[in-house]
Amino acid sequence: MDSGNTAWVLTSAALVMLMTPGLAFFYGGMVRSKSVLNMIMMSLGSMGVVGLLWVLFGYSMAFGNDVGLGLLGNPIEYFGLNGLWDPESLSGSIPTLAFVGFQAMFAIITVALISGAVADRIRFGPWLLFAGLWAVVVYFPVAHWVFAFSDEEAGVVGGWIANTLGAIDFAGGTAVHINAGAAALALALVLGKRRGWPQEPMRPHNLPMVVLGAALLWFGWFGFNAGSALAADGTAALVLVNTLVATGAAMLSWLLVERIRDSHATTLGAASGIVAGLVAITPAGSSVSPLGAIAIGLVSGALCALAVGLKYRFGYDDSLDVVGVHLVGGLVGTLLIGLFGDSSTPAGVDGLFFGGGLELLGIQAVGAIAVLAYSFVVSLLLALLVKAVIGLRVPAEAEDAGVDESEHAEGGYELAGFAVSRVAAQQPGGAEPAPVSTRQDPTQPQQAFEGSKQ
């Protein structure tokens, strides 16, 4: 065991964990104020559901020994992480549980990413059910395809994309972003458009919160990408630098597109360009030079800025552009490895522009399309299943009033206290709460709230 590597991976796991609440802020600021809490809750819900499933059998499905054709790990091999807390249990040079924890954060945020497509209109229970089913049927197998590397000495047999196909996906361009983006498209299609979209304006209610979320994502993404080296070494350092410059380049190119197209460089554009760049450099972090990373960033920022308009052209309501940013950004990063791959980097493969021919591009395309197709089809079936069994959407009146109120009995902001006219504890048995006078006795200012503490 190497304590330096272990320290870095454990730290990275914590960094990646912060990305999911960061995503909650990023998404939460982009919706209208009446559904900010529901947006945040879908991310928090993913942390609960997927975190548990990962420990129960998700890790085993992704990183257990393959049960055939590189499609799935053995779900009972490490059920409940059986035996992995043994001090002798190592994954490379780090404790296996450090790797388990690190990868758990990837599973969680991948599921949370999907929620951006269904803002404002999905019921919370069906979302949790979909999140759990999707993790089991889509994410765990796909993570096995992409992330489970074979180790003949240790007798470990992994997934087909990592070993048979040999596509490069350093930290999850296919497994995380293409995967979540394709699922988001499928779920948005089954769920249908928001009421009033696209005629009614649905502008973000809190752009500073969007930027806070994007900043937390960028910060955590250094763990997501550089931590994926699974060692505190030169690979991690290159990936960290690439994650910095690709992201900056993508932000600038997104803003340039906006300046030309809409005459203004916007805050939402900067935050969106940041995420587009982070997504695109994720698969390519260890296979391109910093100059290659800048090129990938510039391309992804511009293409994603143009792609977010697709939903208006095709008429699907992907509320917060999970398709335009994650699916498109993931495809850009995954495919551009085939062009900018540089054999002097740790991944060690030349792409088209470095004399490597078209072979790598072809391999990257097969990996990307396989994940896209599998995720889209299975997600569509899962969404239809959940819709048929328990329904997906809130009623029309609840959608108009806001899903925070109908799904969570809460409001995100309390800006005018005089709007509260009575306060009472929820009585067991659903008894009607007693009215409380709106006139407060100044000598007993807490009186109105005591009922809620009973």
Partner: protein, 112 residues
């Protein structure tokens, strides 16, 4: 007595208050309001999608004043609120029959 009401750009509020203070005006009521005038709102852009803002934020000021200084009050507001750009706002004057200070019951001039 007159009621001077002004709808102005929010950023001009501080200068207006300072100007009225110099005139000896002792109080005002301020509210955040929204509305539109000849420019019919403005357009914002979110990820390439234009959003038309039909009602733009303004500040509404109400000042009760003696008739003798009403012209000075109006002039002060107009001068301090003017940028020359569209959307600077409006000021109007309404006659007031009677004013009562709630705390003391004083009336009219004594209540100002």
């Amino acid at each position: 007595m007159k009621l001077v009401t002004a709808i102005v750009k929010p950023a001009t509020l501080g200068a207006i208050r300072a100007g009225l203070d110099r005139l000896g005006v002792l109080g005002m009521t301020v509210g955040e309001v929204r509305g539109y005038g000849r420019q019919k709102g403005h357009t914002e852009v979110y990820r390439g999608a234009g959003v038309s803002i039909d009602y733009v934020p303004k500040v509404r000021i109400d000042v009760l004043t003696e008739t003798s200084i009403v012209d000075a009050v109006v002039d002060t507001i107009v001068e301090t609120a003017r940028s020359g750009a569209i959307g600077d706002g409006k000021v109007w004057v309404t006659p007031v029959e009677s004013v009562v200070r709630v705390r003391t019951g004083e009336r009219d001039s004594d209540a100002l």
